[in-house]
Amino acid sequence: MDEGDIERVLDRVQLVCTQLQRAVASARGLPETPQWRGSSHSLAQSQQEYVLAELVGLEREFGELAYRCDRDLQSLRRRQEEEGLAGGHW
């Protein structure tokens, strides 16, 4: 495994984070339903709340993945630096 393996995953995860941010913004902007009554109101309301909650959860999850990727990338680079120092590669 080299830096490129991690960077490819990190790029994809960061791209997903961007897409999820847009999805969350769209979900927050879903039309209000002030005149809905009865079952249609509760149906629409519950759907909006469900979608938003799921998207926020996904955004957080992929944010954590991006953090881990970055952390692993930095860790790999430090390890490689340390190995390079130990091996006298200057």
Binding site: V9, R12, L15, V16, A23, L30, R37, A44
Partner: protein, 378 residues
């Protein structure tokens, strides 16, 4: 945005256009999630961070859920439209039976009469015949309040607002015009007493039945006596305004030929079988979810301008759909309308005038004798 609101006769609106918009928005979100899933759904390399597979699986699950919600919303919208279409069709055929049931229930009769909607005349007449005593009401009317310097109503809504509610069912306004004549506006309230056990109120169910049957109703007698007390004479210019039973009274007097009727406004009144035959402007305002308007049975063509609207009351809120306040709101919309048919309604009526308003209360005696309390009986 195209209006796709489907409204049930009971008054409940289902804002399907908003559901459609929501579906479109969710579709966009679904497309974003599908893109995101394609981004991360690739053959895995040697590196995967902790929780990666779980997150991708969850992303796929949410994308599926959103896609399902979109399909469900579209299906729901179509079902609602279809359901409302059927409900409307069913309602049209059953509403008459239902209102008939209300009347017969109020009369203490067994069973519900069927028949076609235009059978209401016969039903009402038969109901009157079946009452425990002959319907020959003697009425008494007396003035309760008087106010000077009252400004004449401007527009429909203001006239609706002046229809009395509660204790004094008739209001008569008299205005002296610049030509030295009098212009009168008469406002008549609706049914006050729904029980047939209470027999002293002329604004009761018996009067309703009499009005529908075309028989002399106590409430009509009361109103005309109040007009006479206020100085109104035969041939005077009069605008009649009434709610519910009061609308039927107003329509009856407007068509009586005894007055120079200059206008008629009825709201929530069972007057479909009383077509306006005169040259005066007649405005009939009906809420589609107001069951009272159908008590007259088959609607006959006539000179009315008919405005139908949804009351905005919730389904099953029968008093709400029939209430004067709801009709006031509808009348406000009429006043704000740019439609010539509506905005020109009061063109022939006098401009700003100040005059006198009088309020009247009344009682009836169904025993065939004089009304108690020394009041003059008719």
């Amino acid at each position: 945005m195209t209006t796709l609101v489907v409204t049930a006769p009971g008054g409940q609106s289902v804002a399907t256009e908003e559901i459609l918009v929501l579906g479109q928005e969710l579709d966009s979100i679904g497309a974003l999630l599908a893109d995101a899933w394609r981004t991360v759904n690739h053959p895995t390399g040697p590196y995967l961070p902790e929780g990666y597979r779980e997150a991708v699986a969850r992303l796929a699950g949410v994308a599926d859920d959103v896609s399902w919600l979109c399909r469900s919303l579209v299906a729901y919208t179509q079902q609602v439209a279809e359901q409302e279409r059927w409900r409307t069709r069913l309602w049209d055929s059953t509403r008459d039976h239902w209102t008939r049931a209300l009347v017969w229930s109020a009369l203490g009769q067994q069973g519900v009469r069927g028949g076609s909607p235009d059978a209401s005349f016969d039903d009402a007449a038969e109901a009157l015949r079946r009452l425990d005593e002959p319907y020959h009401p003697a009425v008494s009317t007396w003035e309760v309040d008087r106010r000077e310097g009252v400004g004449i109503s401007q527009g429909v809504a203001e006239r609706i607002a002046r229809i009395p509610e509660g204790s004094n069912p008739v209001r008569v306004e008299r205005y002296a015009t610049a030509e030295g004549e009098f212009h009168t506006e008469v406002f008549v309230a609706g049914t006050r007493t729904w029980s047939l056990d209470e027999k002293t109120d002329p604004f009761d169910m018996r009067s309703n039945l009499a009005l529908v049957a075309g028989a002399p109703a106590a409430s009509t007698m009361v109103t005309e006596r109040a007009m006479r007390s206020a100085g109104v004479q035969r041939g005077d210019r009069v605008v009649f305004v009434g709610h519910s039973q009061g609308g039927a009274v107003a329509a009856t007097l407007a068509e009586s030929g005894r007055y120079d009727t200059r206008g008629l406004v009825t709201v929530g009144a069972p007057v479909g079988s009383q077509p306006a035959g005169g040259e005066y402007p007649a405005l009939r305002i009906e809420h589609r979810d107001d069951v009272v308007v159908d008590l007259a049975g088959k609607t006959l063509p006539g000179g009315h301008t008919v405005v139908e609207a949804d009351s905005g009351a919730t389904t099953g809120d029968i008093p709400g759909a029939h209430s004067r306040d709801r009709y006031f709101q509808t009348a406000t919309q009429i006043d704000q309308s740019n439609a010539d048919l509506l905005s020109g309604w009061a063109d022939g009526l006098p401009g700003p005038l100040r005059g006198q308003a009088r309020w009247f209360d009344a009682s009836q005696d169904l025993s065939g004798g004089e009304v108690a309390g020394g009041k003059t009986a008719q």
